[in-house]
């Protein structure tokens, strides 16, 4: 390898690491989307800074589908404000999955406030004490020009029960002249409707909706994430060439189609970044430049079809069992157990003269594997847990069309299995 080539190789590795680092850093990605003045970032920042500078209380809900960047933007805002107003913001983080119980939530609040202000925390304090402590702290912090930010992740889970926590927080906001912001983060769009009416009346009804970015923004974002900086340790001519090639890829229609199909199956930015990560990882280090091929090869790994794949991994016996179950369903037997399936299996063997016949214990193992794959499932849920597997009612969890589709693409599918399905379908019609 020539020296020049090695240098190019080094540059490629360096830029690859840079790009990978960027793709994993949600701050970098969302910072780019936050620049416009109409973005949720600036709205949220405005609410925060008005609370800090004008000493007022606020409450706001961040709503949006999962992966739309609610938490990322919130963290970005909090991080920026902590830099801007050092030592003036206390962030209390609660998660609905952990603290949906009011007592533990109050305890967590007290603990976090104690840690933040280097006070001693007592585990023994009662819920009332913790509530009082929280109110007293809010007042004190208000007097000291400190803002307390309550971040309630999975906000909808806090609305279970009597909503004592939300009532206490929002009531404190309307009665104490403190500087506090309560932020609820939820993927349920109707989260504010879940509030009890007196809690709802105290809520400020500010909602920020997080929507996926437009396609143009997405393309810009991708180019931004993948392009190399000109003024860095990476050789400049290499970076310029890299960026130019990237630009031709991005404007290519084929590339846009790939992105479309990727976006369609999983319309979140995080997922898109994963896709880019895959694509970048297959970068050819010898040439050192991205090509359309990289993206093409990365696409299938993003559009996996778990049911189809597990069907492809099944053994012949397992396929037969699935086919038998299918037959039983066509016969409008709504509830059947392993034993019924075994009977059907025997019948199929007899009538179609399939090549081999397995004993019951082997079939049971195959049956259990299918259960684990999630291709079939018990219908009674957990009820008959102590019942023997043989007699518990089961159901096929994949539809006929999926099964036929799966069989079609199964490499060594026995002709019989295929024909049994075909036969039955023609029977139906």
């Amino acid at each position: 390898m020539s020296f020049g080539k090695m240098a190019a190789n080094g540059a490629a590795i360096e830029s690859l690491n840079l790009i990978r680092g960027r793709l994993c850093n949600s701050d970098f990605i969302f910072r780019f989307l936050c620049e416009s003045p109409d973005s949720n970032y600036s709205k949220l920042k405005f609410i925060f800074s008005s609370s800090i500078t004008e000493a007022c209380n606020n409450s706001v809900l961040l709503l949006g589908p999962r992966g739309s960047g609610k938490a990322a933007v919130l963290e970005l805002v909090i991080g920026d404000l902590l830099k801007e107003y050092p030592d003036m913001i206390t962030v209390v983080r609660l998660n609905g999955l952990l603290h949906s119980d009011d007592t533990s939530a109050f305890k967590a609040i007290a603990k976090q406030l104690c840690i933040e202000h280097q006070l001693l925390f007592s585990k023994m304090a009662s819920s009332d004490d913790n509530t009082q402590f929280m109110l007293a702290m809010l007042r004190e912090c208000g007097l000291a020009h400190k803002t307390v930010v309550f971040v309630l992740d999975e906000f909808d889970l806090f609305t279970q029960g009597k909503q004592r926590l939300l009532y206490a927080l929002l009531d404190a906001l309307q009665s104490i002249s403190s500087q506090a912001v309560v932020i609820g983060v939820s993927c349920r769009l109707d989260a504010d409707q879940l509030l009890e009416k007196r809690v709802k009346s105290r809520f400020s009804h500010r909602k920020l909706l997080f929507l996926p970015p437009s396609k143009d923004d997405l393309l810009k974002l991708m180019e931004h994430a993948l392009s190399l900086p000109i003024d860095s340790s990476i050789p400049q001519d290499y970076a310029v060439e890299f960026n130019a090639r990237l630009h031709t890829i991005v404007v290519d229609r084929q590339f846009q189609e790939i992105i479309d199909s990727c976006w369609e199956s999983y319309p979140t930015i995080r997922h898109l970044m994963k896709f880019l990560f895959c694509a970048v990882s297959s970068l050819d280090l010898d040439s050192g430049y991205l090509s359309l091929e990289n993206f093409k090869t990365a696409l299938p790994s993003m559009q996996r079809q778990p049911k189809m794949e597990s069907l492809r991994d099944c053994s012949i016996l397992e396929l037969y069992i699935l086919v038998c179950m299918k037959r039983l369903e066509v016969k409008e037997q709504n509830s059947y157990s392993f034993n019924a399936v075994m009977k059907e299996y025997k019948m199929v063997h007899d009538s179609f003269h399939t090549s081999d016949y397995y004993g019951q214990n082997i079939c049971l193992r195959a049956f259990q594997h299918l259960l684990q794959c999630g291709l079939i499932g018990f219908t009674d849920g957990r009820v008959g847990h102590n019942q023997a597997i043989d007699f518990r009612p089961v159901k096929l969890l994949i539809s006929v069309s999926e099964l036929t589709h799966g069989l079609k693409f199964y490499n060594s599918c026995p002709v019989h299995a295929h024909s049994i399905i075909q036969y039955q379908l023609s029977d139906d019609t």
Binding site: F133, A144, H145, S201, Y266
Partner: protein, 849 residues
């Protein structure tokens, strides 16, 4: 823990250091000028009229000559001088007579002999004032003589064995012609050798002519120098409005070198106490307690003020010239070192104060251990006063507190300070320890920018947390509550003791009751009404309904017990009326917010609480608030009968009322257009009649207006257009009532849209709301094939379905059920057709909607 910065001398260094000074300070009583010069006309703060004491500045040549003499000898010299004066009484005797007159006023103790001895009794003119107080706290004592002679005091102590060796505490003390009370702010001497301290002019000279005079002087807002109006060039006729900066400061700001006019020869420019304080030559402190030691010296415990320069943060640019901070540093000092009073005010009072030179502004408290600032709360002040009342109630018949007690107190205080780190902050027992740690290291600049625009003021006053001055539209209800409570307190046996208030949220129920209670409290203070206890409980803030007993008992007695014990004790108190303590005689008003939360399975909590008022001996009055009108009907008959017929309904506000509420809050602030307020109130009245909603909406509209103005004013300067208009209200309404699901559906991916369309199609076809994934997948594949779309596969489809389920656009079972998963739309099909009809990406969807 950082070690406390000791910038004040500790207590035991003080007396010696100060005594010497004290002697140097002797004025003839005539030289004590009135403290606050009266102004004839209301002037702004910086304008001062000089009072008429023209002979204030005494040249004290002898003292300055003596300044190099050793302290002890100087004091001796003074002693002799004093003892030589015939007008002074023998200190020993003074002590005793003083003691005697204290006693006459406060106790019956050992007056007989002493009174006869006392040939003269000092007048006590403030008798009337102290009698007026309801609690009859200890009477202010007047002591007119000034104790000076340390050595002889010692002898006096030995001589007068009959003088009790106890401290005598005072509330008001007249010392050396000045009257000092607890809570007063005073100047305190700092250096013993500062010759300039000898003069204590209470008026300052004009910066130009160096004379004092009766004419009005104006104060420069920058250097705080005083100027005669006529001395200025050009002379001013009257004090101008707003800020005024003297020519020297103005010139200094322009960058010119300017020399202040030199005082004429032979006349030294005297510094006022204010100047000395602000330059650190004097201290200011607030008196916390006043007492006389057993040896007859007068002491006071003071809480120091500190000037910005002495804090770790230093003087910050936003500090006002006359700003000082209150510290948490307490010391005991001898009254000897106290010079005279000054006045320290909070920002609001300070803005109004317009007389005198000794006015300072204090907004923050400074923690000397943690070097942090905290705003002084006004609430705390009130609470503090209340505390005082109670504290002083206890020793009313025995003003004397033993030294041991005092020592014990000090010890305890000390131990609390050291232990503060050990006690957990959130354990309620210790009333939240360690709050002194909370504070800002520097006061942020934005907190001090008081120049608010109209819009900002409007936003601040529209906050839910700001307590309105008046409660419009609820006068009728307020009167009803007041008459109910008054009737119940006066204790007619037949009258109702229970009031149930109901109404939808945000109609001012709690606020009205609390306002009524405030009115009643002021009536109690005026002596019109009998005193009562008031217990305020919120059902939603209790960990469990039974905890209410605990909370009530703690509020009544201050003791913490578990709820079972509390129930038992409360039962004893209310039903049996057993013990007839003084406290128990008071009527008790129990105010329970969110009453419906107390409903338990067997409803025993509500029963107990509502049962007590029916007992004649209980003197308990219950006011309950809940949202539902028919709460009593939902309860057991025995409870609903006890809850009584006395109910009060708070209806939702109509739009005129909402308008009035908003207008009353915005009184004097011209930030909203009239129609805009009307629009907002009409909208809210049509929706819920919730005042909170209306206020929040207006606040949001003000924010939007501020944003709009900021973004447009860069190009066009709109001077007077900083008002909230209809458009802003409309935007706020849009935002408040926005339907996020429509937007999410509109912006969803193609597959989402197809999925939803298939759901609608399926529902139309079958007429059933519920469908399974299997059927839906079939429909989707049919739609796709007939419209030339690629079918994405079942796995992609089920993921989309689960995502929609997470957002609650559809309701669905867990995705693991796959084919059998049940799906249902969460919104009407109309909403979905509205959202998806004109989708540019998939125009064919409209066919199926």
């Amino acid at each position: 823990m950082p070690s406390p910065r000791l910038f004040k001398p500790s207590v035991n260094q003080w007396p010696i250091a100060l005594e010497g000074l004290g002697y140097g300070m002797t004025h003839s009583p005539a030289s004590i000028a009135p403290h606050t010069p009266r102004t004839a006309t209301p002037l702004r703060r910086s304008a001062r009229r000089l009072h008429l004491a023209l002979d204030v500045v005494e040249e004290k040549a002898t003292i300055s000559e003596e300044s190099n003499v050793s302290k002890r000898s100087r004091s001796n010299a003074k002693e002799q001088g004093i003892s030589a004066t015939p007008s002074k009484v023998n200190p020993a005797k003074t002590n005793r007579t003083r003691e005697a007159c204290d006693s006459t006023k406060k106790t019956r103790r050992k007056i007989d002999k002493e009174l006869k001895e006392a040939s003269f009794t000092p007048v006590s003119p403030d008798q009337s004032e102290s009698k007026r107080r309801k609690t009859g706290r200890n009477e202010p004592a007047k002591v007119i003589t000034r104790v000076r002679v340390k050595d002889q005091e010692g002898e006096a102590k030995k001589k007068c064995r009959d003088v009790p060796k106890k401290k005598v505490f005072y509330r008001v003390l007249v010392y050396d012609g000045g009257k000092f009370g607890i809570g007063d702010d005073v100047y305190v001497k700092r250096r013993e050798d500062a010759s300039s301290d000898d003069e204590d002019p209470e008026v300052e000279d004009c910066m130009i002519c160096f004379r004092v005079g009766t004419t009005i002087m104006i104060e420069c807002d920058d250097c705080l120098g005083g100027f005669h109006l006529k001395c200025l060039k050009p002379p001013l006729k009257e004090v101008p409005e707003g800020e005024w900066i003297c020519e020297f400061c103005e010139a200094k700001k322009m960058g010119k070198e300017i020399e202040f006019p030199k005082p004429p020869d032979g006349r030294k420019r005297t510094r006022t106490a204010r100047e000395k304080l602000l330059s650190g030559d004097l201290w200011a402190a607030r008196i916390e307690s006043l007492w006389r030691e057993a040896d007859g010296t007068f002491w006071c415990r003071v809480r120091w003020y500190i000037i910005p320069e002495e804090t770790t943060a230093g003087r910050q640019p936003h500090n006002l010239k006359r700003e000082i901070y209150l510290t948490n540093h307490l010391s005991d000092i001898e009254m000897e070192s106290v010079i005279r009073q000054c006045s320290v005010k909070n920002p609001k009072e300070y803005a109004k104060a317009n007389e005198g030179d000794d006015v300072f502004m204090c907004e923050y408290e400074y923690d000397i251990h943690w070097h942090s600032f905290k705003r002084l709360s006004e609430i705390e002040k009130n609470a503090g006063e209340d505390d005082n009342d109670e504290d002083w109630e206890i020793p009313k018949d025995a003003v004397l507190e033993s030294d041991e007690d005092m020592d014990y107190d000090e010890e305890r205080e000390k131990s609390l300070q050291t232990r503060a780190t050990e006690i957990a902050a959130n354990s309620g027992k210790a009333k939240f320890f360690g709050f002194q740690k909370i504070g800002t290291k520097r006061i942020p600049e934005h907190a001090r920018s008081h120049a608010q625009t109209e819009l900002e003021r409007a936003k601040a006053t529209l906050l839910l947390a700001t307590l309105p001055n008046s409660l419009p539209c609820r006068e009728k209800e307020m009167n009803e509550i007041t008459t109910f409570i008054k009737g119940a307190i006066h204790g007619d046996q037949c009258s109702e003791r229970c009031l149930y208030i109901h109404g939808v949220p945000g109609t001012g129920k709690t606020m009205t009751v609390l306002a009524a209670m405030r009115n009643l409290k002021s009536q109690v203070d005026d002596g019109i009404l009998k005193p009562y206890c008031f217990v305020d409980v919120n059902g939603l803030k209790l960990a469990s309904p039974e905890n209410i007993y605990k909370v009530i008992y703690e509020a009544l007695t201050g003791h913490r017990v578990n709820w079972k014990k509390a129930l038992q004790l409360l039962n004893e108190r209310f039903t049996d009326g057993a013990r007839n303590g003084k406290e128990h005689d008071r009527p008790c008003i129990l105010f329970i917010d969110e009453l419906d939360l107390l409903v338990t399975r067997n409803q025993s909590v509500l029963y107990n609480i509502l049962h007590w008022p029916t007992k004649s001996s209980s003197k308990l009055i219950v006011i309950g608030i809940a949202n539902t009108m028919d709460l009593p009907e939902k309860l057991l008959p025995k409870i609903s009968s006890r809850m009584g017929i006395h109910r009060l309904c708070f209806g939702p506000y109509n739009y005129q009322q909402l308008q009035e509420i908003i207008c009353s809050r915005l009184n004097g602030i011209d930030a909203f257009e009239k129609q805009a307020i009307e629009f907002a109130s009409r909208k809210v009245a049509a929706m819920s009649g919730d005042a909170r909603r209306a206020l929040e909406m207006c606040r949001r509209a003000a924010e939007i207006a501020g944003y709009r103005i900021k973004s447009t004013s860069e190009s066009v300067s709109l001077g007077d257009k900083a008002r909230v208009v209809m458009g802003d209200i409309d935007a706020a309404i849009q935002e408040m009532f926005q339907q996020p699901h429509i937007q999410v559906m509109k912006s969803g991916s193609r597959l989402c849209k197809i999925f939803l369309t298939a759901m609608v199609h399926e529902q139309h076809k079958t007429g059933m709301a519920e469908t399974t994934f299997e059927e839906l997948a079939a429909t989707v594949s049919r739609l796709c094939t007939s419209n030339g779309e690629a079918f994405p596969g079942w796995d992609a489809l089920i993921r989309v379905g689960c995502m929609l389920g997470e957002c609650r656009i559809i309701l669905c079972e867990p995705g693991s059920k796959h084919r059998l998963q049940k799906l249902q739309l969460n919104f009407s099909t109309d909403d979905i057709s509205f959202a998806l009809k004109d989708s540019s990406v998939l125009p064919w969807l409209a066919k199926y909607l």
